[in-house]
C-alpha cells in the first residue's frame, strides 16, 4: 500500500517540530497545512511576504490583498506578520527559516535537486526555488517516488537542470522516507506493506537500508481524507 498525496503531506507534518518556521512549496507540500499538529506552534512562511499563513479563506470571505505564493486566497493566524519581498528573501537566503518542503522533478544521491525546469519546457520559470534550496537548512522534498511513467526520480545524478547542489536533507515519497547523508541515501521508513526491496527497485541511486528501518505511522484515513491507497 502506498501513501496518497495527502498521506505524504501527513507524514512530513509529523516531523515539523514546535517552533518551526516553514516555507511550503506548491503541490503536495501545500497540503501539509491540513495536517499540522494542534499542540505545536508552527509558522508557515509565504515568499511573497507573509509569516503565519493560516487556512485557505472560505468562499465569500476572501481578502483580495491576501494571497500566498501559489496565489490562493488565505487567512492569517494570530501573531502573523506581513512584509516586503526583500525582507522575505532575507528570511530565506539568510537561513532564518528552519524548514522548507518542496516538490522535485529529480533528486540525486548526494542531495542535488532539480525542480524548476523539465527538458523541452518552452517557457522557463524559477520563482524562489533556487533561493529556498541554498538558504534553508532542513530542505525536505515531498514527491511521488517515480514518474507517472514509472521511472525513478531518485537518481545517481540529476539529468534535468539543477536548482542547487547537495541541498536536500530528506525525501518523503508515497513509498518511503529516505535520508540524504554524506555516506549516501539511507532508507529510514517504508510505507505500510511496502518491502524495502520494492523501494530499492524503484530507486535508481544506491540505497542503504537502515538497521532500524520501520513502517511509517500513517493511518488509513484522517479527518475523512484517505492517506493510503
Amino acid at each position: 500500500m502506498t501513501l496518497t498525496r495527502d498521506g505524504i503531506a501527513y507524514r512530513v507534518a509529523c516531523d515539523l517540530p514546535d517552533g518551526a518556521y516553514v516555507n511550503l512549496g506548491i503541490g503536495i507540500p501545500f497540503l501539509i497545512t491540513s495536517y499540522l499538529a494542534e499542540d505545536r506552534e508552527i509558522f508557515i512562511h509565504s515568499e511573497n511576504g507573509i509569516l503565519g499563513v493560516g487556512p485557505v479563506a472560505a468562499r465569500g470571505q476572501e481578502d483580495p490583498d491576501l494571497v500566498n505564493a501559489s496565489k490562493d486566497y488565505i487567512t492569517l493566524i494570530p501573531g502573523a506578520s506581513v512584509f516586503d519581498h526583500a525582507l522575505s528573501f532575507t528570511m530565506i537566503r539568510g537561513g532564518h527559516l528552519t524548514h522548507a518542503v518542496i516538490g522535485a522533478i529529480e533528486v540525486a544521491a548526494n542531495g542535488d535537486l532539480a525542480n524548476w525546469r523539465v527538458p523541452g519546457q518552452k517557457v522557463p520559470g524559477v520563482g524562489g526555488a533556487m533561493d529556498i534550496a541554498v538558504g534553508i537548512e532542513n530542505l525536505y522534498v515531498a514527491m511521488t517516488h517515480v514518474t507517472n511513467k514509472g521511472q525513478p526520480k531518485i537518481l545517481p545524478a540529476c539529468t534535468c537542470p539543477l536548482t542547487a547542489s547537495a541541498c536536500v536533507k530528506r525525501i518523503y515519497t508515497d513509498m518511503a522516507l529516505i535520508e540524504v547523508t554524506p555516506e549516501g541515501l539511507i532508507l529510514r521508513e517504508v510505507a505500510p506493506g511496502i518491502a524495502p526491496a520494492a523501494v530499492e527497485k524503484a530507486t535508481a541511486a544506491p540505497l542503504r537500508v537502515a538497521k532500524d528501518c520501520r513502517e511509517m505511522d500513517v493511518p488509513l484515513v484522517f479527518n475523512g481524507v484517505e492517506l493510503r491507497q
Binding site: 496565489k71 486566497y73 516586503d84 526583500a86 517557457v123 520559470g125 524559477v126 538558504g135
Partner: protein, 235 residues
C-alpha cells in the same frame, strides 16, 4: 508646497518614452498597478523593458502590453503559468526576450540599485545554468555568484493610502516588490486607493517615505484585478 498628486493616470505616465525600462510592482494580483499599466497602453510608448516578478494575466494590464507588442524584453522570475498567455505567445515567436532571474536575486538586485550598492554575491544559482557566464567568488570556503544592481527609468507601483508628499502605506500582501521598486527608479509613480491629508498617516505606519515617490494618482482598483475568483476561472 510639495504636491505629488496628479489627477489622472494618463498624466502620471505621460513622460514614459520609447525604449524605457519600467519596474512594475505586484505579486499575483495584490500590488499590481493595473490602472497605471492600462494608461501606459493608451500612452503608446513602445520597445519597453519590463521588470516584474511574473508576466501578467490573460489580456489586460501587463498582459495587454505583451498583447500590443510593446515589450522588447521581460526581466522576471516566474513568467510561465497558464494565464501568462500573452507573454508566452510573444516569447515563443521570438518577439520578446526573457531574462530569467531567481526571485530573491531579483528583489536584491533592485534593492542594491535603490541603496546605491554596486552589486552583491549570493549562493543562489551557483552551479546552475542561471549563473552561466557570471563571476564566481569563494567566500569562507563557499562559492557565491556576482549579481549586478537593477535600475529603471520608471517604477509603476500600487499602494493603499498616500498623501500629497508621496508617503505610502500598503495592505497585507500588496506590499511585495512595491516599496523596494520605489527606491530604484528615476521616476516613481504610485496609484493609490485613498488620498489622505498630510499628517493623517502615522509616521510609524508609513512603508514608503515620500522622498522616493514622484507622482501619485487616487483611483479605484482595476476591475479585473483583485476580484476573488475560483482557481478554475483564474488560470
Amino acid at each position: 508646497m510639495i504636491n505629488k498628486a496628479v489627477a489622472t493616470c494618463g498624466e502620471a505616465v505621460a513622460n514614459v518614452f520609447d525604449g524605457a525600462t519600467i519596474m512594475i510592482g505586484g505579486f499575483g494580483e495584490p500590488g499590481v498597478p493595473g490602472r497605471l499599466i492600462e494608461a501606459l497602453r493608451q500612452q503608446g510608448a513602445t520597445n519597453l523593458v519590463v521588470i516584474h516578478n511574473g508576466a501578467g494575466f490573460h489580456d489586460f494590464a501587463l498582459a495587454g502590453l505583451f498583447k500590443d507588442g510593446r515589450v522588447r524584453k521581460l526581466i522576471a522570475s516566474f513568467p510561465n503559468y497558464p494565464s501568462a498567455s500573452a507573454f508566452r505567445d510573444r516569447y515563443l515567436k521570438g518577439e520578446t526576450e526573457l531574462e530569467l532571474v531567481p526571485q530573491g536575486t531579483l528583489i536584491e538586485r533592485i534593492r542594491a540599485a535603490g541603496a546605491g550598492i554596486g552589486g552583491f554575491y549570493t549562493r543562489t544559482a551557483v552551479g546552475t545554468e542561471l549563473a552561466a557566464g557570471k563571476e564566481i567568488r569563494v567566500i569562507d570556503g563557499r562559492q557565491y555568484v556576482f549579481e549586478a544592481p537593477l535600475h529603471a527609468d520608471f517604477a509603476l507601483l500600487k499602494a493603499d493610502q498616500g498623501d500629497r508628499h508621496g508617503n505610502l502605506t500598503y495592505r497585507y500582501a500588496m506590499r511585495n516588490f512595491n516599496p523596494i521598486m520605489a527606491t530604484a527608479a528615476n521616476v516613481v509613480i504610485a496609484e493609490i486607493e485613498k488620498l489622505v491629508p498630510v499628517g493623517a498617516l502615522m509616521p510609524d505606519a508609513i512603508h514608503t517615505p515620500g522622498i522616493f515617490v514622484d507622482h501619485i494618482v487616487e483611483i479605484d482598483r482595476h476591475p479585473r484585478l483583485f476580484e476573488p475568483q475560483s482557481e478554475e476561472t483564474r488560470t
